[in-house]
Symmetry: C4
Subunit: 235 residues, 4 copies
């Protein structure tokens, strides 16, 4: 990657990080966004615990897919090993977001999968968003953040889920991770997840017998926006 491309990626990741508080997904410095450059195998991520008010694009940290810092003077986000593990396992994703956004975190704390109750959900997530189990003490000892990435991968494998069709997960007792083709799309998926987490909670409060979307409606909405027969938006 040329220096110029690297600066552009830092700027994109910086802007995507600023989008988190703009969309009400984080307070203070909670949350982080990264984006990978697949040619060089390097990704750019926010530094750890730096105030958004003083954050600059040039503060962004460059890491390789082992999670080692390649460039940057600050510590990278403490969640960097989770990002690295996901980029390595899923070559189809380009950007990752982690937040403690209120309603997605509520589902994570409740330890429940988020079912697809409406078309707002189905437009982005092709079925339930899974909730991954707690890590064991042994996994913590092996490295909390990298093992978090491994548990995400195990959860998708055990349920035979496609990370492109379900671009996010809830971590029990923690909060959501989302991903997408780039940082900006991953942020949009975090916004959608937060909104449907809120709507689906109150849907069940309003009607305890409310059912997930019928399969044919789920298919219709997801496929209206995704895949070769999509017709939403501009070409």
């Amino acid at each position: 990657m040329e220096g110029n491309m690297l600066e552009q990626l830092k700027e994109k990741v910086f802007q995507a990080n600023l989008d988190l508080p703009k969309h009400g997904l984080v307070k203070y410095t909670w949350g982080n966004v990264s984006e990978v450059d697949r040619e060089t195998g390097l990704f750019v991520i926010k530094p750890s615990g730096v105030d958004y008010a003083s954050l600059k694009a040039s503060d962004m940290i460059v890491c390789d897919l082992e999670g080692h810092v390649v460039e940057g003077e600050l510590n990278p986000s403490s969640d960097t090993p989770t990002h690295a593990v996901l980029y390595k396992a899923y070559p189809e994703i380009g950007g990752i977001v982690h937040t403690h956004s209120t309603w997605a975190t509520i589902w994570a704390q409740a330890g429940l999968d988020l079912p697809a109750m409406g078309t707002t959900h189905a437009d982005t997530f092709y079925g339930s968003v899974p909730c991954a189990r707690y890590l064991t003490q042994e996994e913590l000892d092996q490295g909390y953040e990298a093992q978090t990435g491994q548990v995400i991968i195990d959860t998708f494998a055990a349920r035979d889920l496609d990370p492109s069709a379900v671009p996010g997960i809830l971590l029990h007792g923690h909060g959501p991770f989302t991903w997408g083709k780039d940082a900006k799309t991953a942020v949009m998926h975090a916004v959608v997840l937060e909104e449907v987490a809120k709507m689906n909670l109150f849907t069940r409060e309003l009607n305890h017998f409310a059912e997930p979307l019928p399969q044919h409606i789920l298919d219709k909405h997801y496929l209206r926006k995704h895949g070769k027969h999509a017709y939403y938006g501009q070409k």
Copy 2:
């Protein structure tokens, strides 16, 4: 319609679309507003999936009542056929809004009619706002968006409801449509629907035995603002 009138209508529809995020009814590009010119039988609607930040009045799309694009270079909203079907069936309406606004969508996802629990509701909607059924696979195959319009019309007919007196509906698992004499009024109805959806949900949570408004209070409030004996507002 002269070019000048068309430009004015585009401007009105553009402004009404901007009002959706201003009132907190949509995130990103979710939602759409249209307004019809009854003399020419043409309506103007937002293009599909275009960022509000870059949207211009001149991007608005002109369609006829069959939903065909008459003018404009972008794809119209994917919900255009629903708008067309409603304009054709209901000559008394002039503007239509579709959103996934949080609280109205919660009632839609719960599959419940929204009862008139208070005067905020009664000032605008003369009784319950109905929730329309899911479309069948057959209806999806015939054209999802046009059939959505048909199900709205069928729901109003089956319940003998007047679309002028109840200017909105919930679509099961999806979200609300509202309408009015023009785009601006349809947006106001979307704001009212969202607010009463929130209030009525928590009214029932607070008091599971809370009843809808008595008929004489419903009549009083609706008729204070509508019809020939109205005395609210300025002449």
Copy 3:
């Protein structure tokens, strides 16, 4: 009242009306504020259904205590007779506010008195805020708005409540009225009522057995701010 004082009162009432959307208590033109001048027996109130964006201090309407317009070219708020009846019955109050604010309206729609669950409530309202009954058809026929004022007065009398100590009420199926020594204070009471309505609803959701404040804490907080032994704020 000299013309100059009248202009000042219009300005105060105009500003107090603008405070309603600023505090998130009203959408569009819902809600109204008035303030009375006791020397002349005239009060100033917002015109009915005029957009806040175009509203001017000079649009405010002057009425006498029978609710007749004394000065102003627009129609006064449709709730003007309620304000007039309250000013006439309660010489100790100087300003009145009516809104459909979300959480206070939820209690009104639920038809429940708002109990004093915490000190935020006790700092302003010395005990439960009552919920007044629906009007009968006969009362509607006699004049909805004036009879609304009468039902408020009857509710306070039947429960032996002091309108200075409990400066507000909920109207079943409708929303809150608050009052105070002037328009600005009445708005503050509307803000407090809205906030405690929200807090008290969720307090009961969180703990169905939560009790109102013990009497000695209610006394302490109310009397810390009110009466001759008050010591909160500046002299």
Copy 4:
């Protein structure tokens, strides 16, 4: 303390007070922040009931650890004796915040300890945030605000809690107090407490059987940010 240091402390406390409405923790003048200078044994606190719009850094009040005013022309916050008692008992704390923030107050009104349901909580509070009992009539007679401080101290002592590890408390029927190494940190703890109070309430609504975090996850998250093995943020 030199005059210059005193002015700097007033400025810090003034800014920290302004942060309360900025973070949505207070309305009007509800709430107060202070910070202590341990060398001189003086603390600076907001004056009582002064509008934020007209508040200036020079209005801040200087008090000694008995709660007596040492400098300033306005009355100090009515809660000043609570601050004084806490600074005297806990030499390790440098700043204190009191608010009636919505969700923390709901738990306080419910009279319930706030359990650690997620890592957002565990990052700041090492276990449940306790809810202190109501004061008795006798304690009110001895001085409400100072006795409030005493009940906080008694609650921490009775449960063998470390005020550095659990930097906050709920007061039954009232609201939260938080503290930290300085005023700014105490405000951040108030923001975290408010957010987890909201999340934990809805976690239990969503899943009545949701359990607090397992001990090994609580330990991991708290100790990732606190103590000698912390690795979050910059050095």
